[in-house]
C-alpha cells in the first residue's frame, strides 16, 4: 500500500467531524456509535502506519499536493509520531466507549464533533513537519479544548474555560512571535530546513525566539508559570475529555516543545534554554505535588498529579542527552496508560455516585470492587512502586538526571514521589479500609477496558524491555536531528 495514505490520519477525522451535524436527527446513540466507528477506523490506520514505520525502520513523509518540502508542507511520521499517533487513536477509541456512560448533556452532536477535532488536532501536532502548520494544529487542539472544557455549561466549567482561553491566547501569541523571529532569521518554516540553518542564526535572536516558543508551548504542555488552567479544566471538563487531555493533548504540547528545542540544538546559546526549561520543569513538579496534597476532590487531585508527572517528562527532555530523551518518551507512554485508567475509574465513580469528592470513594472497594481495583492499580503505579510501569520510567529519568550532572533534580524526583505516595495512599486507604455499602452493578465494557489497561501496566512493569526499546527508537527520532534532516527530501531552494 502506498505510504502516502498515511495522510488519512488527518483527513478522516477532519471530514467525518463535519458530517456529525447531519446526523443530529438520528439520536444520541447513533452519534456516539458513529464516533466509536470513526475512532476505530483511525486506530486501524494508525496501527498500519505503526507497523509500516517500525518494520521498515524508515519514517513516512507525506507530501501535501506532491510538492517536496520546503515548498510543500510535509507530515513527518517517524518512530515517535507513529507511536504517539497510535496512542492518540487508541485512547480516543477507549474514550468513545466511555462516552456512552459519561456524557449525557446535550447537544451531543456538537460534543461528537469537538471530540473528533480534538483527536485530529493532537494527531496533527505530533505528525506535522512544518512549524506554522504546528501552530495551526495547536490552535485547533486549543479551541476544541476550550469548547470541551466549557461543555457542561456550569459556572465552574465556564470559569475554567475562560482561564484556559486567556492563558492559551497569550501562549499562542508568544509562539507566533517566536515563529516570526525564526522565519525572519532563516527564511523557512520547514522544521528540517530550520534545523539545517539553525547554526547560522544570530545566537541572541535564536535564544529569544526559542524562549518565546517554549513559553507559548508551555501552556499546552502545562509547565509551571502557565499551568494554572490545568487543574480547573481537568475538573470541569466531561470525564472522557479529561482523560484525553491528560493522555495526549498535553503530550502533543510537550512533544512539540521537545522537537523544536532539539531542532535548534546547533544554536550557540542552547544550554541557556535548557537551564530555563529545567527550572520550569522542577518548579512544575514541586508546586503541583504540594497542591495535590491539599485536594478534597479526587479528580482535581489526579489532575495535579498529572501536571507533576508531565513536569518530570519536561525535566527529562531538558537534560539535553540521549538517555534523558529516551526516559522522557518512556514516561510519556506509561503516563498516558495510567492516566487513562485513573480518569476512567474516577470518572465512572463520579457518574455512578454523583461526584468525585473523596467522601464518595469511602467503601468503594465494597461497592464497585473492579473500578476500585483499577483506581488502586493506577495509584500504585503513579507513585512508582516496582512491578508497575511508572517505576521503570521514573528509574530511567533518575539515572539520566544523575548522568547529566543534575543530582539535585534526581533528589527532587524522589522527594516528589514521597509526597505523591502520601496522597495516593490516602485515596487507596479510603477506598478499601473505610466505609460500607451495597455492591453496585458495574458496566461490562468499562470493566473490560480497565482490566486491559491493568494488564498492560503490569506487563510493562514486569517486562519493560519491549516498551523501553520502543521508547529508545522514538527518543532517537527526536534527539538525532542530523538523521531527521537527512530523512526529509528537501528541495534545493532558499538555503
Amino acid at each position: 500500500m502506498n505510504v502516502q495514505y498515511a495522510s488519512l490520519l488527518i483527513a478522516i477525522p477532519l471530514i467525518t467531524a463535519f458530517f456529525v451535524p447531519l446526523m443530529k436527527g438520528l439520536g444520541e446513540k447513533a452519534i456516539k456509535t458513529y464516533v466509536l466507528i470513526i475512532t476505530a477506523i483511525q486506530a486501524g490506520i494508525a496501527t498500519w502506519v505503526f507497523e509500516e514505520v517500525y518494520t521498515t525502520g524508515k519514517p513516512i513523509i507525506v507530501m501535501a499536493g506532491g510538492w517536496r518540502p520546503p515548498v510543500g508542507i510535509d507530515l513527518y511520521i517517524g518512530p515517535f509520531a507513529a507511536l504517539f499517533v497510535l496512542i492518540v487513536a487508541l485512547v480516543s477509541f477507549l474514550m468513545a466507549v466511555f462516552n456512552f456512560r459519561a456524557v449525557k448533556v446535550e447537544p451531543i452532536d456538537k460534543y461528537a464533533m469537538l471530540f473528533l477535532l480534538l483527536m485530529l488536532g493532537a494527531t496533527g501536532m505530533i505528525a506535522t513537519g512544518d512549524i506554522f502548520n504546528l501552530f495551526v494544529f495547536m490552535e485547533i487542539t486549543a479551541i476544541t479544548a476550550y469548547a470541551l472544557t466549557a461543555y457542561n455549561k456550569t459556572g465552574e466549567a465556564a470559569e475554567a474555560s475562560l482561564k484556559y482561553m486567556v492563558l492559551g491566547g497569550i501562549g499562542s501569541s508568544f509562539f507566533l512571535i517566536g515563529v516570526a523571529l525564526i522565519y525572519g532569521a532563516t527564511g523557512t518554516l520547514n522544521m528540517a530546513q530550520i534545523a539545517q540553518l539553525a547554526g547560522n542564526i544570530n545566537p541572541t535572536v535564536a535564544q529569544v525566539a526559542l524562549a518565546l516558543v517554549i513559553f507559548g508551548l508551555a501552556v499546552e504542555a502545562e509547565l509551571f508559570p502557565l499551568n494554572a488552567w490545568a487543574p480547573d479544566a481537568y475538573q470541569a471538563a466531561p470525564h472522557p475529555v479529561t482523560a484525553m487531555f491528560s493522555a495526549f493533548v498535553v503530550k502533543a504540547g510537550i512533544y512539540a516543545l521537545a522537537r523544536i528545542l532539539y531542532l535548534m540544538s546547533a544554536v550557540g546559546t542552547w544550554k541557556n534554554i535548557l537551564h530555563l526549561l529545567i527550572a520550569m520543569a522542577t518548579l512544575t513538579v514541586i508546586v503541583a505535588e504540594f497542591s495535590a496534597l491539599r485536594q478534597r476532590n479526587v479528580k482535581r487531585m489526579i489532575a495535579y498529579s498529572s501536571v507533576s508527572q508531565v513536569g518530570l517528562i519536561g525535566l527529562a527532555f531538558a537534560l539535553g542527552t540521549q538517555a534523558g530523551v529516551d526516559a522522557g518518551v518512556f514516561q510519556m507512554i506509561n503516563h498516558a496508560i495510567i492516566k487513562v485508567l485513573l480518569f476512567l475509574g474516577v470518572g465512572y465513580v463520579a457518574v455512578q455516585l454523583g461526584g468525585a469528592e473523596i467522601e464518595n470513594f469511602r467503601g468503594l472497594g465494597k461497592r464497585m470492587p473492579l473500578t476500585a481495583l483499577g483506581v488502586t492499580v493506577g495509584s500504585m503505579s503513579a507513585v512508582g512502586i516496582p512491578l508497575f510501569n511508572i517505576f521503570w520510567s521514573k528509574l530511567r529519568i533518575i539515572l539520566a538526571t544523575v548522568d547529566a550532572g543534575y543530582a539535585w533534580a534526581a533528589a527532587l524526583v524522589l522527594g516528589a514521589s514521597v509526597v505523591e505516595a502520601v496522597y495516593y495512599f490516602r485515596l487507596v486507604h479510603a477506598i478499601w479500609f473505610t466505609g460500607e455499602g451495597e455492591r453496585l452493578r458495574e458496566s461490562a465494557p468499562l470493566v473490560a477496558i480497565m482490566l486491559l489497561l491493568i494488564a498492560i501496566i503490569v506487563a510493562i512493569g514486569i517486562y519493560p524491555n519491549y516498551a523501553w526499546s520502543l521508547s529508545q527508537k522514538a527518543g532517537n527520532d527526536i534527539f538525532n536531528v542530523a538523521q531527521y534532516i537527512k530523512n526529509v527530501p528537501l528541495m534545493g531552494v532558499g538555503a
Partner: protein, 114 residues
Amino acid sequence: MISAYYFGAISLVLIGLYAVLVKKNVLKMLIGLSIMETGVNLLLVSIGYIYGRSAPILSEGIGPNQAVDPIPQALVLTAIVIGVATTAMALSVAIILYQKYGTLNVEEIRRLRG
C-alpha cells in the same frame, strides 16, 4: 535595520498583554487579547516587508521582484481567522459566565480554587 514597524508591533503586543494582566473585566481582558493578536500579526507582516515594494498580487507591472515576501501574509491571513474563532469562542463563554455569576469581574468569578 530596526524599523518603526517593529516598535509599533511590539508596543501593541505589550499594550494587549498589560490589558490582559491588569484589567478586572472579562471583556476588557478579551479586548486585550485581540490587541495582542493584532500586534503579532503586524510583526509578521513587517518581517516580510521590503522597502518600496508592493503587495504580492501578481498583476501588470508587478512581478516577483516588485512584490514583498508573500509567505508572512499567508500566515497572517490564517492567524486572523484563528483569532476570530478564539474571540467568538471567548465571548460566548463570557455570556455563560454572566448568566451563572451575574458579574464579569474576574475577582468575583472564583469558585474553583486550591
